[in-house]
Amino acid sequence: MSTNSGDHADHTHASGFLRTYVFSLDHKIIGMQFLFSTLIWFFIGGMLALGIRWQLAYPWAPMPLIGNLLAGPEGGQIAPENYTMLVTMHATVMIFFVIIPILAGAFGNFLIPLMIGAEDMAVPVLNMLSYWFMWPAFGIIGLSFFVEGGAAQGGWTSYPPLSVITAAAPGSLNGQTLWLIGVTFVGIASMMGSINYMTTIIQMRAPGMTMFRLPMTVWAMFITALLQAFALPVLTAAGFMQLGDRMLGTGFFLAEGATANNSPMASGGGQPLLWQHLFWFYSHPAVYIMILPAMGMVSDIISCFARKPLFGYKPMVYSISGIAGLGFIVWGHHMFVSGMNPALGMTFMVSTMMIALPSAIKTFNWMGTLWGGQIQYTTPMLFALSFVSMFIIGGLSGIFMAATPVDIFIHDTYFIVAHFHYVLFSGTAMAVFGGIYYWYPKMFGRMMNDSWGKIHFTLTFILLNCVFYPMHILGMTGFPRRLADPYQYETFQNLLPLNQFMSLCALLLVASQIIFFVNFFGSMFFGARSGRNPWHSNGLEWQAPSPPGHGNFDFQPVIHRGPYEYNSPEVEGDYYPQTQPPPEIKE
C-alpha cells in the first residue's frame, strides 16, 4: 500500500520506519496510535474499577489482584486513602485517557479527512504533536501512583480545599500536583487537535462536499472541537490557579485561615466554590465532548445498516449545535447543593431541562431512521442500537438530577453514578465498540470476526446492565458515592449482597472484554480481507482503498450528495455512494 502512497505523498514523505510509524504525520497512523494507547488505558482503568468493586463487595478483605500497590502493608487491605485514590484515578483515566482521546483523537483523526475527502489534516505536524503531548500526561499520571502519598485522591473533580491543602490528604501531597500537570498536557493535546479539526473541516472539504453533505460524525467532531476550543482554556487556567495555590501560596480557592490536618493556615482570601464554577464550566461541555462524537458515529452506523437515509438530518445538525450552545450555561446543575446561591439553582434547572431536548430529538430521529428500514444485525449495528437503548436510560435519569429538589436527595449518591455510567459506558463506550467494528476494515483492510463480535456484544450488553442498572435503586436509598465502607451505616448494610452481585458482574464484564481484545488483535493477522466497501456504505471514506495509503484517495473525489442516500429510487441497488455521479450526468 506504500506503493500508491508515492504519487500522493506530497506533504508526508514516507521516509524511514520511525518517521512513518512512530513520529508519523499521517492522520491515520496518528489515529491508530491514539486508539492503541487509549485501549491500554481502558484496560488499566478497568482494573482500577475492579479495585473499587472489590472494596464495595468485600470491605477490608485482603485485595488479591492489584494487591499491595493499593493495599496497605497491614494484611493487604485496601487502605482507605487508596480507595479514594482508586475512585479518583478510575475517573481520571477513563475520562482523560480513554473517552476523550478515543473519540476525538482516534476516530476524529482517522475519519475526518477520509469523510470530507481531504488528503490529511490541515496541519499534520500539529496533529502529530497532539498525540505526543499525551505522552507526558501518560507518564506523569502513571508515575503519580508511585510518589509518596500515592496518586491524586481529591476525586476527579479535585475540589479544593481537599486538593489544595497538601496535608489534607495523602494524595494531595504530591499526586495532586502531578494530576494537575498531567491534565494540563491532555488539555494542550486536545486543544491542538480541536484547532486542527475545525480548520480541516472548514478548509479542506473535497469539491461538492457542502457543510450539509457532511456525515453526522464529522458534524459531531466539528461541534466537539468548538466546545473544546472554548471550554478548555478555562480548565487550564483553573488548573494553573490550583497549582499556584498548592505551590506558590496564592489563595484563589482557600478561605482565610483555611487549614486541614493542622497544617499552617492559608493566607486565604479565596473561595472554594470558585474552583467548582471554573471546573464545571469546562467539565460540563466536556460531558458533551464525551458523547457527541459517539452520537455522530451511531447515526452513521444506524443509517447504513437500516439501509435507509438518516431521519431528519438537519434537525440532527441543529440539535447538536443546540447542545453546543446550551452546554455552556448549565454547569451550575453540578452545584445545586454546593452552597451556591439557591436562586441560581432555579435558572440552571430551567436551562438544564432544556438541554435534555436536543438529546430527545436525536433519539426520536434514530427511531425514525429504523422505522420501515431493512435492519441488518451486524455487530456494529447491534452496538449502535444498544447505544440508543441505553442512552434513553441515561438521558431520562438525567432529568432527576436536573430537578433541583430531587437533586437535594440524590446528589452525590449512586444515582448520579448510575446516570453517568449509562451515558459514558453504556453509551459512549458501546458506540466506540460499534465504531471499531464498523471502521476496522478501513483501518486494517481486514474484517473483525462477526460471530465473536456478537458474543462480545451479548455478554457486554447483559452484564453492563447487571452492573449499572441496580445503581439507580442504590441511589434511591441514599447510598453515597466514594465511600470506602458504606456499611458502617446500618441503613446501607442490607445493600451488601446487591453490591456483591454487581461486583461479580463487573468482574465478568471486564473478563468478557478479553474476547474483544483477542478478536481485535487476532483479526489484524487472521481476519478475512475486506474490499474497499464491505458494508456497502455510502460514506466517502469507503471509496478509499482499505487501508488507505498516504493521501488517502487514489482518485480525486467529487461529491454529489449526502452520505445517507440508501435505497434511493434514482439507482437500483440499495446504496448510492457520495462520489457516484447522478445517472443523468452519466449519459
Binding site: P62, L65, G72, E74, A79, T259
Partner: protein, 426 residues
C-alpha cells in the same frame, strides 16, 4: 491472550496473602544492641505470651478477656459463630497499625501522628502522670474522639464493640511494654556468659527465665490494674460551687489569669502570652524524643567513624572496633530510614473552644493537675497521692476558669494560630 496471561499471573502471584505479623520495636532493639538471635527469641516469647494478630492469646496473668480480644482481632468482617470479629482491623489498623505502633499505612500522613500504644503511655487520662489510664479513660477517648486530630468518635458502635477495642488496645500496650522489658532484660542480664558463650533467651528450657519473664509481665499488668484506683479526685472542699455569682467567676478568672502569667504555673512560657500556643516550641514529646535521640546518636556515630577512618595510625584493636561500629551504624541506619519526619511538640492553642482530652471542666483540671503524660506539659498538682503540689486545687480551678474563658475573649474568634513546625508537616 494478553489479559488472560495477566489474570493468571496475578491470581497465582498474589492471591494468597499470609496474615500480617506483629512488628518488633526495632528502635529499642537496635539502640540496646539486641543481636538477631535475641530478636528472634524475643519475638518467640512474645508470640508465646500474646499470640498473633489473628489468634491473640489472653493469659490469665494478663487478666485480659479472651472473648473481647477475639472480637477485636482477626481479619476485618470475619465472622466466627455469628460473632463479628476483626473490629480492630476494620476501624483502627489503618492508622494505629497492626502492632499498635502508630505506623499503619495512613498514619504517616496524619498530624499529629497516631498514638503508639507500646509504651503504655496515654496523654488523656484521669490518673497521675506515672500511671496507666483507666478503662473509662480509654473508653471516653473512643466515645468522643479527639477533636483537632484525625481521631473520630466511635460512640455509635455498640458499647460491647467499644469495650472490646479498649481491651485490645490494652493488649497491644502490654505486649509492647513486655517487649521493651525483655529487651532491657536481655541487655542487662543475658549476653555472653563468663567464658564467652551466649546465654539464649529460652524460657521453655530455663525455669528461672520463665520466672523472670512472668515477673516482668506481672509488673506491667499490675500497673494497669493499679490505674483503676489512681484516678485523681479533686479535693471536695476546694471545688467551686455550681451556683457562683458572676462576680465570683470573674474574680476566679482573674486569679487564673495571674497564675497563667505567673512563675508558679508558668503556663505562658509554652502556651504563649496570647495563649495561642506560640510559646516554647522546640521540645519533642516522648515518642518523638526517642527517635530524635536515636537519630542524633546515629549521626554522632557516623561522624566519629568518618573521623577515625580518616586517621591512618590504627592498631588492629581500633581497626576491629571501627568495623564493629560500621556494622552498628548500618543497623541503625536501617531503622532511621523507617522513621516518619520527626515533629516538635506544639503547645495547644487555648483559644479554640474544644479540648482534645475532653470538654468537661474535670478534664481540664486533670490536664493541669497531672500534666500530660509523654509530653513536655508538666503537672502542677501532686505527682502521686499525698505528694507535694506546686499548685493547690483551688488555684487549678482558677486556671480552669481562665482557660475555659479564653476562647470567648477577643481576639479569639479569628483563631489566628501560629503553626511553627511548618517545615515538619510534610
Amino acid at each position: 491472550m494478553l489479559a488472560i496471561a495477566a489474570a493468571i499471573t496475578l491470581a497465582v502471584g498474589c492471591s494468597q496473602s499470609e496474615p500480617p505479623p506483629f512488628r518488633l520495636n526495632m528502635v529499642e532493639m537496635v539502640s540496646q544492641e539486641t543481636s538477631d538471635d535475641y530478636q528472634q527469641e524475643i519475638a518467640d516469647v512474645l508470640g508465646a505470651l500474646f499470640g498473633t494478630p489473628d489468634e491473640p492469646v489472653a493469659l490469665e496473668e494478663t487478666g485480659l478477656d479472651a472473648n473481647m480480644l477475639a472480637r477485636s482481632a482477626g481479619p476485618a468482617w470475619s465472622d466466627e459463630k455469628g460473632v463479628q470479629r476483626g473490629l480492630y482491623r476494620k476501624h483502627c489498623v489503618h492508622c494505629h497499625g497492626i502492632s499498635g505502633d502508630g505506623r499503619g499505612p495512613t498514619g504517616r500522613f496524619l498530624n499529629p501522628y497516631p498514638r503508639d500504644y507500646r509504651q503504655g503511655v496515654f496523654k488523656f487520662k484521669g490518673t497521675y502522670t506515672a500511671n496507666r489510664p483507666t478503662t473509662d479513660d480509654l473508653h471516653a477517648i473512643l466515645n468522643n474522639g479527639i477533636p483537632g486530630t484525625a481521631m473520630p468518635a466511635f460512640s455509635l458502635l455498640p458499647n460491647s464493640s467499644v469495650e472490646s477495642l479498649v481491651e485490645y488496645v490494652k493488649y497491644l500496650s502490654m505486649r509492647g511494654q513486655l517487649e521493651t522489658a525483655l529487651i532491657s532484660y536481655v541487655y542487662d542480664e543475658l549476653g555472653e556468659d563468663d567464658d564467652g558463650g551466649r546465654i539464649p533467651l529460652d524460657p521453655a528450657a530455663d525455669p528461672e527465665q520463665r520466672e523472670i519473664v512472668l515477673e516482668l509481665l506481672a509488673e506491667i499488668v499490675e500497673d494497669w490494674e493499679a490505674a483503676e484506683q489512681r484516678t485523681i479526685a479533686p479535693d471536695e472542699s476546694q471545688i467551686p460551687s455550681d451556683d457562683r455569682t458572676p462576680e465570683e467567676i470573674v474574680a476566679s478568672v482573674a486569679k487564673g489569669q495571674q497564675l497563667y502569667h505567673g512563675k508558679e504555673a508558668n503556663c505562658y512560657t509554652c502556651h504563649g502570652p496570647t495563649a495561642l500556643g506560640d510559646g516554647q516550641q522546640n521540645e519533642w514529646d516522648e515518642w518523638q524524643k526517642v527517635q530524635q535521640k536515636f537519630l542524633e546518636e546515629t549521626n554522632r556515630l557516623a561522624k566519629s567513624i568518618q573521623e577515625r577512618a580518616s586517621q591512618d595510625d590504627q592498631d588492629e584493636s581500633s581497626e576491629a572496633r571501627l568495623e564493629e561500629d560500621k556494622q552498628t551504624l548500618a543497623k541503625r541506619q536501617e531503622v532511621v530510614d523507617t522513621f516518619y519526619p520527626i515533629r516538635h511538640a506544639i503547645p495547644r492553642n487555648l483559644r479554640q473552644a474544644f479540648y482534645r482530652g475532653g470538654q468537661r471542666r474535670l478534664d481540664i483540671f486533670w490536664r493541669i493537675s497531672a500534666g500530660i503524660a509523654g509530653t513536655p506539659m508538666p503537672g502542677s498538682g501532686p505527682a502521686s497521692p499525698g505528694a507535694t503540689a506546686n499548685l493547690s486545687d483551688e488555684e487549678i480551678w482558677n486556671l480552669v476558669d481562665y482557660v475555659m474563658s479564653l476562647p470567648y475573649e477577643p481576639p479569639s474568634r479569628s483563631q489566628e494560630a501560629i503553626v511553627p513546625n511548618k517545615d515538619e508537616i510534610f
